[in-house]
Amino acid sequence: MDRDSIRAAAAKVMDKLFASITILMAIAMMAYSAAEIYQSIDVIGAVRCAVFYGIPFVCGLLIILDRHRSVFFAVGMFAISIGFSRFIRYGEAVITNSGSSPTDVILFYGQLILTVLALNMMYSGYRYMHRNSRSITYIILSALLFAAILLGEILNGFRSFTDPVLFFEHYIKSIARFFMYLVYVGLVWSEAVRKSTDLARMEDSLAALRIDVNVGPDMSMRKEAADRFVGFVRGEVPGDLPVSGPVVSRTAVRANDGMVWVLCNLERWSDGGIYMTVSRSDSGSQIDPTVFPVKEASFEEGSIVVRYRGGRTGRFRIRERYEDDIAVKGAFE
């Protein structure tokens, strides 16, 4: 089994892991909701309990029912439900706060800020649902901070309670919230969410353009890929991929555009021309990519120099390792 197959299998495991994290998130939300209702029902009544804390339970249920295990949906539902729950609670406190003592005034502004933050959280959820994440660094940091505070609270309670049943009765809400924040960090850190911020989406489009037109400043490939590349252009190495239409032989070699892996697809056509296209993967659609008509390829001082029809040339640095930038190369030599 080669390394790429192991990598592909690992990617599948990661997908399954993230799918299971969405379920963990849903369970944590439902547990939190149930714990809040259990602890507050005698204090604030059933109706207000349902309004304040019922939404996270319903949203958790919807996440479990989602057969696609959509990360965006799970993160969005979390933010919207928790934000809504807080908005209703703090909003009600703001409206009913009628005292004029300094404490009441401070409380009023504190609750007002929390209400605005809850609205902000709902907006984040809306953005997640639209697959357009907001900057995730602060979200992760603040979620970790909350998780750390909750962990401290739980550990403190663990020390002070000797009866485990009593401990769980008192701290079930905090434990559920702790897990909820941890899972939230995991989901927000997922590739899907990270790659859907405004900046990441722009980077994706720009990278696709750069890869397509092949103007990467540091195009490189490993020695065996370089041998295959040059051999195919010279007609010494046969194609190893299925062909159709005017293509008589075809091969693909992996190269690096900076730190990004790309695929150089080489085709020999029935008209005698050799054409190269660069893409992110060998599968999927490819819509009128930039075509480089290759005339010849040769080795020159640790590089392949490719001459295109029309007089332009290109150069691929030959790497010893996938990641042999200068520092790594120095360390391993």
């Binding site: 919807l62 696609h68 004029s100 009023f108 502004y109 697959r131 005017p246 085709e267 659609s285 009128d288």
Partner: protein, 333 residues
């Protein structure tokens, strides 16, 4: 029927008249007939009439003129009210006069056609409005008597109305350049329209067969839907006339009907998984082929229905307008 843009401009001019009247009649200083006060009130009313007239042609110019007038008004009012004995009032008036100068400068630059960021106007007017609302709300919670509350909050209400009118005008999308990120995103969007980043484009098998056969039959043309879960749908047209076969990809909802991609096609190769249109000099369009419409794994699928949250707004509007709509919700197997 007055166009919405003119209505926004009219609201701006009415709020200027209200501001002028309120500060002239009701500031309680007993200086109603002071020449500066009379001139300020006259300036605002005359400015409001100008704004109302200009808003029929250009909301941007209306905002510019109103900014200049409000700026002059602020400067005159604050300079005439300078109290050298009272430090805090002096600082407040000084701050207001400097703000007035800044507003005049902004209005002038806006009128001169300088590029500006409408987001800052939105942010500033929203911030003033939020402060006013918070003040009004806290005043009311501490003093629920409506009459005394109104007499205490008279001036903040006027400032709030003025800020609201500027906010409403600045929310007009056609007003001008918006945020840098929005602008970059729009540029990226148009680059992505070229579809270099689209790797999940597919056609249905029956459409692929029609398109392939159209290329081989002189005088025939077929159009089908090119689908993508990530990038939405486009149209693909294959035609053959006078011995020249071509494949075009056309946007669905663009104001132009020009193809995004147009390729003279030599042949089409249809296989189990893909269809490839080959052009000349190595050009090609490779599309995936599926028997049915594909589910988008990033969308949630609950109880057999795939929900696209990005279409939720359209779906709700459709429900409200027509009683039922299948936009946004898709029944899948």
């Amino acid at each position: 029927m007055i166009p919405p843009k003119t209505l926004k401009g009219l609201f701006l001019s009415v709020s200027m008249v209200i501001t002028a009247a309120a500060f002239w009649i009701g500031d309680g200083s007993g200086m109603m007939w002071d020449p500066v006060e009379v001139f300020c009130a006259f300036l605002m009313v005359a400015g409001a009439l100008c704004v109302a007239r200009i808003s029929k042609d250009s909301l941007r110019d209306a905002l510019a003129v109103s900014s200049m007038i409000i700026g002059v008004y602020l400067v005159l009012k604050s300079i005439s009210g300078f109290e050298l004995d009272d430090n805090s009032m002096f600082m407040l008036d000084l701050g207001l006069s400097i703000s007035g100068l800044a507003v005049i400068f902004f209005g002038f630059a806006l009128f001169a056609g300088v590029e500006y960021n409408v987001l800052r106007i939105r942010f500033l007017s929203s911030a003033v409005l939020a402060v006013v609302l918070m003040y009004l709300f806290s005043q009311f919670t501490m003093n629920p008597d409506i009459v005394s509350w109104f007499s205490d909050s008279y001036m903040p209400i006027i400032v709030g109305i003025q800020s609201l009118s500027i906010l409403i005008v600045s929310l007009e999308r056609t007003l001008g350049a918006y945020g840098t990120m929005d602008s970059i995103e729009a540029s990226m969007g148009s680059l992505s329209e070229r579809m270099l980043t689209m790797s999940d484009a597919y056609v249905l098998r029956e459409d692929a067969e029609r398109l392939a056969s159209a290329l081989g039959k002189d005088g025939s043309a077929e159009t089908a839907t090119l689908r993508s879960c990530s990038f939405g749908s486009r149209r693909i047209r294959a035609s053959s006339a006078d011995g020249h076969a071509s494949v075009d990809i056309i946007p669905v909802d663009s104001v132009y009907d020009d193809p995004i991609v147009s390729m003279e096609s030599v042949s089409a190769s249809l296989s189990e998984k893909e269809i490839v249109f080959y052009g000349v000099d190595g050009r090609r369009i490779r599309l995936l082929v599926f028997d049915g419409i594909q589910e988008d794994p990033a969308n949630p699928k609950i109880l057999g229905r795939e929900l696209d949250p990005r279409n939720l707004g359209s779906w709700i509007r459709g429900k409200l307008e027509r009683g039922n709509s299948d936009v946004g919700l898709r029944k899948t197997n």
